[in-house]
Structure formats: C-alpha cells, structure tokens
C-alpha cells in the first residue's frame, strides 16, 4: 500500500510544471555554487600558499641586520582555508586573513575579505551550504504542503480513508513520494560534492572523509526534519492555504529572522570590547601589572624591569648596567616581551571567551530554528568556524613569541654593553622555523558542538513524532 501511495505522490509531483521548474532552478543554482565555490577555494588556496612561501623567503632574504631589527620586520601569517570551504565558506569572508607577527606589538588578524567587496555581498554568498540550508527547505515546503491538506480541500482524502487505508501508511507513502522527488535535487548535490572532493581537490587532512560523511548526516537530518514538519502541518492544517502560510512563515522566521536576531541578542548579552578599549586596557595592564597573576607579571612594569636589573647587577657584582658583561638592552626587551605575552594571552583569551559565549548563546536559539544548529555544525565540519579562526590566531601568537625570543637571544648571546653592535644574516634567520598552520582535528572542531548535535537530533525526532501524531488524528 505504501508503495502505491508513494508512486502516486511522486508522479503527481513530477508531472507538475512548478516542480520541474523548481528542480531545474535548484540544480542550476547548486551547479553554479559548486563551480564558483571550487574556483574561489582554489584561487585563494594558491594565493595563500604563494604568499606564505614568499614570506619565508622574505624573512630569510632580509639584508644583514641587527637581529632585533629583524624581529621588527617579523613574519606574516596568512590564513589558509580548509578543503571543505568550497562547500561552506562559513565566517571566512568576515574573519581576518593576515596577521603581522612583529616585535613589541601583539596584532589582530586583519583584512577581512568582505572589506574589499561591495555592499551587495552582505546579502550573503551563494554557497552550496546556503542553498541546502535556506533554499532546499522552501522547496520541501512547496512540494509537501498540500500532501494532506490539498487532498482534504479537494475531497479525495475522505475517499482514500473510506477505502480503509491506514493513516500511517498514508504518511509513509507520502513521505517516500515527496522524499523521492526531493532526492532528485539532493542526490546530484551529494554526487557533485563528493566528486569534487574525490577527484579535484588535494585533501588537507586525514579526516576529510569523516568530515564529509558527518556533513551528509547532518544535512540529511535537517532535510528530514523539514519534510516531516511539512507533512505534519499539512495533516493538521484546516486548508492547504493555511498549511502554506504557516510553513512559509516558519521558514522565513527560522532562516532569516532568527540568525540575525540571535546574533544581536548575543551582542546585547555579552558585550564585545572595541579596538581602542582593548588596547587601552591591555597597555594599562602592561604598565601597571596584571592583577591576580602569579609572579612578577602582577607588578608594575618599571618595578618588574628594575628587579631584573638589580638581580643582574648583584649577580655580576657591578654598580651600573654599563659595566655588565651581558647586553642589558637585549635582556630587558626579552623580559618585556615575555611579560606582554602573558598579558596579551589573558586579554586575547578573554576576547575569545566573549566570542565563544556569543556563539553558545546563538546556538541555544537552535530550539526554535533548526537552521542554527545545522549552520554551526556545517561550519565546524567544513573548517570555517570560529574554532578554526582562533586556532589560526593562537598558532600565530605562539610563533611570534618564539621568533622574537630567538632573535633577542641572538642579540644577548653576541653583544655586550660595551660592544652592542651586531648583525646577523640568513643562517641566523633560518633558525626560526617557518610559520605553519595546523588545522584543528575533527574532535577539536566538534568540541562545542554537542548542544547542536542534540538540538538537530531533537528536531529530527520531534518532527517525526509530530507527523506521526498528526496523522493519527487525521480529520477528513
């Protein structure tokens, strides 16, 4: 019986002109988005690789100079994209891509790609993930809203029920029929995506297969949730018109209103410091000491440096730094670098906490919008989420302190107060290993995603339950 119903449903949909149009448009959009996503990923990948390679050469190829001056020239970290960015570009258009690692200064990753594009880019990018998250649910709604309600309007539901068809058979038949129609869009999308991954792109991690597999599962649950929801509403609604209005209203609410509203609410709840406030506080802390910290970092900067100076004077038993056999300027610079590293780690850590609490709060709204959990999961799995950006920031800060320490030590080891002039060349600069970004592992990416997995699973389960219950009490 289920098979017969499924076949009828499928045929009815496929023969409808509107269906043909929507499948054609969706496939066209999907193809376009995959093609441009692929092309963009590749061009960014090449730019980034060559920039980072060039940076290593530029660092080594510097003119001979004072090693501290070399640290001022510093290095640049350029943010690479994960392979799956061609599918979901996530936050990448709005996150900094270049980070200058230089002496004395702790910088942010700057230059968001969106800055150089026009205002139209704020409508959002047409990526495969956007199509699956936003457009596909609408197609599901348009295909499924009249499944029960339409038959009720035209009176055929009464006839079908009078034949003794079990309501649950009707549900599963309709589910299979509409599902088969939707798979005409979904299957090509999966095939294209898998083909690009398998044949065209070099993998950036061992876990690419599992990431792609998990993406598939997440989107499958999302699609099923919308399908059951549509069938359920269609069974409950008084007329097809009502079902359509309710479903489209929910879709617009979940896909357009909620992401923005959640973001604004999270900004109200957890306030982000501004650029000038951040540096004002960090610099004041650097000068006055980090309260509550252990050791000398908690002291005012001048006391901290003075203490080190006194220790050195005592150690070498001399009266002034001029008489020291070691290069005091180099030592004091290194003391300040280490001190500031601790302080900025604290400040950057606090900022990271702000960002992650905002994300957590936004994710919590996933209980009224299935888009939010699937969006977060998709970004995390594609390697284009906040975690990836923070990994980039942290690896760059760690590289920075090491590079500067190497250069300062070079200065300290080779100079004295009497003879402070020293230049180094390529062989010294080569002691600094090139900056390398290590993307988060799958388990790191999934760290903050437990809540989203639960929410998405709940959407799948509850919408299934809702559809089953709605059909049980089907009124003809």
């Amino acid at each position: 019986m289920i098979g017969v119903i499924a076949k009828k449903e499928f045929l009815c949909l496929v023969r409808d002109g509107r269906f043909k149009w929507s499948v054609a448009i969706m496939l066209l959009l999907l193809l376009t988005s995959f093609a441009t996503g692929f092309q963009r990923y590749q061009s960014l990948h090449e730019t980034r690789e060559s920039a980072q390679e060039r940076d290593v050469e530029q660092w080594l190829d510097q003119d001979v100079k004072n090693p501290h001056m070399a640290a001022h020239f510093g290095n640049y970290a350029y943010k690479p994209q994960g392979t799956l960015a061609f599918f979901d570009s996530g936050i990448d258009n709005y996150a900094g891509t270049t980070l200058w690692m230089e002496a004395h200064k702790t910088n942010f990753a700057q230059n968001r790609p969106a800055e150089d594009n026009g205002a139209v880019s704020r409508f959002g990018d047409l990526t495969p993930s956007m199509i699956l998250q936003v457009l596909l649910p609408l197609v599901i709604i348009l295909l499924g809203f009249s499944a029960f309600a339409g038959e009720r309007d035209s009176g055929t539901l009464r006839q079908v029920m009078s034949l003794g068809v079990r309501p649950s058979d009707l549900l599963w038949g309709k589910f299979l029929g509409v599902g088969a129609a939707i798979s005409l869009i979904v299957v090509p999308a999966v095939v294209i995506g898998a083909a690009i991954l398998a044949f065209s792109l070099k993998s950036d991690s061992q876990e690419l297969g599992s990431r792609a597999g998990l993406l598939l599962i997440a989107y499958l649950i999302y699609v099923l949730a919308f399908l059951f929801l549509t069938l359920g509403v269609s069974a409950v609604a008084r007329s097809a018109k009502t079902a359509l209005v309710i479903l489209i209203g929910f879709w617009a609410f979940a896909s357009f209103l909620m992401p923005k509203a959640a973001s604004d609410i999270s900004k109200l709840a957890v306030v982000t410091p501004t650029f000038s406030e951040f540096y004002k506080d960090a610099k004041a802390t650097s000068a006055n000491g980090l309260k509550g910290a252990e050791g000398r970092v908690s002291m005012p900067q001048s006391d901290h440096v003075e203490l080190v100076r006194q220790e050195l004077l005592a150690q070498y038993n001399v009266a002034t730094v001029r008489d020291l056999p070691v290069y005091w300027v180099g030592i004091s610079m290194q003391v300040l670098e280490e001190r500031d590293y601790v302080i900025y780690q604290k400040f950057l850590g606090d900022l990271r906490d702000v960002f992650f609490s905002q994300q957590k709060l936004q994710d919590a709204f996933g209980f009224i919008s299935p888009l939010l959990p699937v969006r977060s999961l998709s970004m995390a799995l594609s390697g284009t989420s906040l975690i990836d950006q923070e990994q980039f920031n942290q690896t760059a800060q760690d590289f920075r302190i090491k590079m500067i320490t190497d250069m300062n030590n070079e200065l300290i080891d080779n100079t004295t107060m009497k003879d402070p002039l020293h230049v180094s060349g390529r062989e010294v600069f080569a002691k600094v290993p090139p900056y390398q970004y290590v993307p988060p592992t799958l388990s790191q990416s999934m760290q903050n995603q437990t809540q989203n997995i639960i929410l998405l699973a709940l959407w799948g389960l509850l919408s299934l339950l809702f559809a089953v219950m709605a059909v049980k009490r089907l009124h003809v």
């Binding site: 509107r18 959009l29 376009t32 441009t36 092309q39 061009s43 730019t47 920039a51 530029q58 190829d61 510097q62 003119d63 001979v64 004072n66 001056m69 020239f73 640049y76 350029y78 936050i91 709005y94 900094g96 200058w100 002496a103 700057q110 230059n111 968001r112 790609p113 800055e115 150089d116 594009n117 026009g118 205002a119 139209v120 704020r122 409508f123 990018d125 047409l126 457009l135 609408l138 348009l142 009249s146 018109k241 359509l244 209103l257 992401p259 923005k260 973001s263 900004k267 501004t274 650029f275 000038s276 406030e277 004002k280 300027v329 900022l351 960002f355 994300q359 906040l386 402070p420 020293h422």
Partner: protein, 497 residues
C-alpha cells in the same frame, strides 16, 4: 465611491486579527531594529572616544616632558638641543630630555581622523561594521592606515545586523505579500466579488481602493515607527536639530514608500492573473525569494567573479618586498644602528636613522601604490557592474540607496579615506621640514599641530548617488502597476469563466 471602499477596507483591516498581529510584529521588528542600529552607532562612538582620549593623553605627556625640559634648560641657562625623544619617562635622577619633530610626528603622536556618524546612521549598519570609523594618522606609510580593523565577532558579521534596513528590505515585503495576496481572489472564492461588482464601481476602482487602504495603513505604521526611531537615535546622538538629518529622513521616507509600492504593485499583478489564493501565495513567496534572496546573491556572485577583489595577502607581500628593497640600498654602517630604538643611539646616528626611516616610507609608498590602487579599481568595477544589474532586483536598488542615505556606504567611506590620505600629507609636510632643518620644537607649537576635520558633507552628493536608484525604482513601480491594472480589464469576476 473610492473613498467609501477605502473606509470600508480600513475598517475591515482594523478588525482582522491577522492584519493587526502583523502590524504589531512590524512595530516590534522596527523597534528592535532601531535599538540594534543605535547600539552599533554607540559602539562606534565609544571606540572613537577612547581612541581620542588615549591619543590626547599621549600628546599631553609628551608635551609635559617638553615643558619640563624647557623649564630645566631655562633654570640652568642651557641651550636647547635637537634631541631624540625617549619612549619612556626619564628615570629618577635623569634630566628631562629634548625633542625633535621627526620623533614627535613620526613615532609618538597620532592624529585620530574621525568619520562622524550621520543623523540617520542608526537606520542601517551597512558596511560600517567592517571597519573602524576613525584612522590613526602618523608619518608611516599610508597602507598602514587602510587597515582600520575593529574588533567584532566574525560570526556576527556573517549574520549581519537586525537593523531597520533589514526590516525594510526583508520583512516589509513579507507583510505586504500577506496583506495583498488574496485581495481579489479571496473575494472571488467567497463569492462576494460578483456581489460587489453589481454596485456602480469598476473593478479597477475597487482594486485601487483595496490597494490604497492597505498602503495607507502600512505607511502610517512605517512613518510613525521611523519617526520614533529617528527621534530616539538622532536625539540621543544630538543630531536631531540638524537640517541634514531631516533631509536624509525625507529621502528615507520617499524611497521606503517607493519600495512598498513595488511590492503592492506585484500583489495587484498576481491577483490580476485570476488564480486561486493558494497559487497567489506561492507565486508571491517565490517572487520574494527571487528578488530578496536569489537575485542579490547572484548579482554578488557575478560581480565578485567577473571583478574579483585582489587579495590583501598580495598587498602585504608587496609591502614587504618594497621594504626589503629599500633596506638593501642603505649602507653597511648604518645597518648596525637600525635597532629601531632611537633613544639607544648617539645623536648623530639617531638622526640618520629617522631620516632613513622617513625616506623609506616614501620609497615604499611609491613602489606599492600600483598594487594598492588595484583594490579601489576593482571595487569601482564591482560597483559599476552592480549599478547596472541592481535593477533586476528592487531589493538591491533599495539596499544601496538605504546605505547611501544613512551614510554607511562604501562610497562615503572611500571618500573619507581619500581626505585622510590628503591629511596624511599635510601631517608629514608639517613635521618633515621641521625635522630636516633640525628646528627645535617648542611646547607652544603643540596647539598648531595639524588637526583633521571631516569636510562638511554636501547633501547633493548623496542625492546624486540616490537619484538613479529612485528613478529606476519609480519606473519599475509605474511599469508593474500599469501592467497590473491593464490586466484587470481581462479579469473575469465569476467563478469558472
């Protein structure tokens, strides 16, 4: 007759709980949007205020040290010298130090060049959340200044702000669709249309009345909410008395009215096709999707594919390339001195250092300018591409116009940056000769340091940029309305015919 039907329709609307619910939702959304927009402006102002305060404090400190030095030399009858400036305060027992124009204008002080908000800033966040609305100007190269990074969670930037512009662009059309999709079809389905047509009224008058009544109710709500938002936000920013604020608001009202008209006209057109309410709703929802979501995304895709922005990574690589090239021309002996810490060097060497530093900045700018100019060039190309294709989607037209009217457009920002680059030259022209001539800075000169003021905005520039959009939108609206009403001629009132 028209008046009677309008009165009747408004009465019906006011009794319909669905319509009232939607109007209430619209009110709430507008309020939430106004609040978020205001918060965004307030945040930017905080960032500016703190920056000004911090830089002002630095200036004060540097000046105080100079005053101490002047007092010190006067008391002891010593000659004042042209000297490097210490980055730290003199230690206990150390005498106050002199100063020089190169270090003061090149390393210690920065002018905060501010792009002020407009009276309507709270109505749209636009592109203004991507970069700071102030620039630190010093004697370093100009590319430094173009990185006006402001801290913001990239997740929030990706989602965009729920501001008034969002309510107008995305939500308002949904409500208009809900108010119009069954204007005629419902009357026909319930059989009242034929009845109404027995009265001495033409179908087109009947439709016009239905249209006008809904338009009037909606515009009253939008206008009221807009006024409240304006009084609230511009009032708090202290810009309510300015004529330009009201000029911008009038433009806003005009363009919102036009945009609403477009969606109403589309509603009439779909009703004129004589399909059932369900089909009307589907077609209108589909149009919403196409105009508000798909076409803007496609236009963006095409603009960024045909005229891709260059990569900032390439710019950084070019800057470093030029830095290294300039370095290699310096002679061996000075290299050893380049520790970037002028206070460590004997006077003679510190002077060499700063001279070389300044010369290097200029050489760097010359070498990198072509790479840098390419960003603006590609952005202009994208914009001219979009300015042609925007008419495919009234929502894109509207977005660009709203950004322009609120003063958060890329064009306004670029114009501002151009004035900052000009000021950068003024700043350099002030300090460099004084430095090279080894003039001794006096504390009294600190009041004469160049200051940046944003040039008074000419509203005709805004008008020039908005007028093509307004005319384009107007033509679209007139076209759709005329076609819709001509279709009504062929509308059959009775079922099944």
């Amino acid at each position: 007759m028209l008046k009677i039907i309008i009165q009747h329709e408004i009465r019906l609307l006011m009794r319909s709980s669905a319509a009232l619910f939607m109007l209430a939702l619209l009110t709430v959304a507008m309020m939430f949007g106004a609040w978020n927009g205001y918060r965004a402006v307030e945040r930017k102002n905080t960032s500016v205020d703190v920056a000004v305060e911090v830089e002002g404090q630095i200036k004060q400190n540097v000046r105080d040290e100079l005053i101490a030095y002047e007092k010190y030399t006067e008391e002891r009858n010593l000659p004042r010298v042209f000297a490097p400036v210490s980055h730290t305060k003199p230690r206990v027992g150390q005498s106050p130090q002199g100063t020089n124009a190169g270090a003061v204008g090149g390393e210690l002080l920065k002018e905060v060049a501010i792009l002020p908000p407009t009276g309507l800033s709270a109505f749209a966040v636009g592109q203004s959340d991507l970069q700071r609305t102030y620039t630190y100007v010093d004697m370093k190269n100009k590319f430094n200044m173009s990185d006006n990074y402001e801290i913001e969670n990239p997740l929030n930037l990706t989602a965009g702000t729920f501001d008034i512009a969002f309510v107008i662009l995305f939500i308002l059309p949904v409500f208009i669709i809900a108010l119009t999709y069954d204007m005629l079809s419902n009357e026909k389905e319930s059989g009242t249309l034929a009845l109404a047509m027995t009265q001495p009224v033409s179908l087109r008058t009947f439709m016009a009345a239905k249209l006008l009544s809904r338009l009037m109710v909606l515009m009253v709500v939008i206008l009221a909410m807009g006024l409240i938002a304006l009084v609230f936000s511009a009032g708090k920013l202290g810009m309510l008395e300015q004529g330009s604020t009201w000029m911008r608001f009038s433009l806003w009202v005009a363009i919102v009215f036009l945009y609403s008209l477009f969606w109403f006209a589309l509603g009439v057109l779909v009703n004129a096709l004589n399909k059932d309410s369900e089909t009307n709703a589907t077609v209108l929802a589909g149009s919403w999707l196409v105009f508000v979501v798909i076409l803007p995304a496609l236009i963006n895709l095409a603009a960024t594919t045909f005229h891709p922005a260059p990569s900032r990574m390439d710019l950084k690589v070019a800057i470093r390339e030029a830095t290294s090239a300039a370095e290699k021309t310096a002679d061996e002996t000075t290299k050893a001195y380049f520790t970037d810490h002028v206070e460590m060097l004997p006077d003679k060497d510190s002077i060499t250092y700063l001279e070389v530093f300044l010369a290097r900045q200029i050489a760097l700018e010359k070498a990198v300018e072509p790479v840098f100019a390419d960003f603006r060039f590609q952005q202009d190309k994208q914009e001219s591409f979009v300015s042609w294709f925007q008419y495919l989607s009234p929502t894109v037209v509207m977005q660009l116009a709203l950004n322009e009217i609120s003063g958060v457009s890329t064009k306004r920002y670029n114009d501002y940056m151009d004035t900052v680059y000009e000021f950068h030259d003024v700043w350099r022209q002030y300090f460099t000769p004084k430095y090279l001539r080894q003039e001794i800075l006096e504390s009294s000169m600190y009041d004469d340091f160049p200051t940046y003021t944003y040039p008074k905005e000419n509203l005709t520039t805004v008008l020039e940029r908005v007028v093509p959009s307004v005319i384009g939108l107007l033509l679209i609206v007139v076209g759709v309305t005329a076609y819709a009403f001509s279709r009504l001629r062929r509308f059959s009132v009775r079922e099944g015919s």
